[in-house]
């Protein structure tokens, strides 16, 4: 029988290649029918370095990385059921939404967007739940 909870390590993001002892966070965890994805800030997928840009460019980085992460784990953007988007300011919601709309098929996932104080000067953090 497969484990009820499984940490997915086969991920294209450089930070996941660090030894598990260095990680306080798993980027993807599978439980039941679902994959739970940690809040992602914009990072360069090769170097793992934070990318600092506009809300739009950070959104593009995050969703590009999310697509790769999910596909590496056997899921995909069109299997996402719920997305939570945290923004440094709700004034930026239209800028995020415009980029966001290009990544998601029809019908898009359920979504909640709110403004919050984000770590490391991130302008956007995106977390989601997908079908495994």
């Amino acid at each position: 029988m497969s484990p009820r909870r499984e940490v997915i390590v086969a991920s294209p993001l450089a930070r996941d290649r660090a030894s598990s002892a260095d990680r306080a966070v798993s980027t993807l965890v599978k439980g039941g029918d679902f994959l739970f994805v940690s809040g992602l800030a914009a990072v360069d997928p090769q170097s793992g370095e934070r990318v600092r840009g506009t809300t739009a460019s950070e959104t593009r980085h995050i969703l590009g990385n999310l697509k790769q992460l999910l596909e590496a784990a056997g899921s995909s953007l069109d299997k996402i059921v719920k997305v939570n988007v945290l923004l440094h300011s709700m004034l930026e919601a239209p800028n995020m939404n415009e980029v966001y709309a290009r990544f998601f098929p029809d019908p898009p996932p359920a979504r909640t967007v709110c403004g919050a104080r984000l770590p490391d000067d991130a302008k956007v953090i995106i977390e989601c739940t997908a079908l495994a």
Binding site: D33, A110, R111, T112, A116, L131
Partner: protein, 129 residues
């Protein structure tokens, strides 16, 4: 299997009214994931700004409509994230919240956040299908 739950009334389609790239709710794996629920007039889509209490009444009415259209109900909520604009209103939220989840209330987390369009409260919920 991932299934769209369409807006039961036209006002609840925020994609149509406000261009938000989101579905009202998605059914998957025996659960219903709702998009953040806001105090929107379910008929017209107009924003219904008010006190936290009046906004919460509109939100719960909308949530009831949405969940019941999908064969679920407020009694089947499993998790609620309640976003409020200021933690000073925590007790106010509880007073109105309690009226809608009388028996065996769902798991819940409340936090303060900037909510779209200057609303005072938003509910982000998961229910059993």
């Amino acid at each position: 299997m991932r299934e769209l739950i369409a807006a039961p009334l036209p006002g609840l389609d925020l994609r149509q009214h406000y261009g938000h790239h989101q579905s009202p709710a998605i059914r998957a794996g025996g659960l219903i994931f709702c998009s953040g629920m806001l105090p929107i007039d379910p008929g017209t889509g107009e924003r219904r700004h008010g006190t936290l209490t009046s906004e919460a009444h509109v939100i719960f009415a909308n949530l009831k409509l949405l969940l019941e259209s999908a064969g679920s109900s407020l009694e089947r909520l499993v998790q609620v994230h309640a976003l409020i604009y200021d933690s000073i209103e925590y007790d106010v939220l509880n007073r109105v919240y309690r009226q809608y989840v009388a028996n065996g209330p769902p798991a819940r987390t409340v936090w303060t956040a900037q909510i779209e369009a200057g609303f005072k409260v938003e509910l982000d919920v998961i229910a059993v299908a």
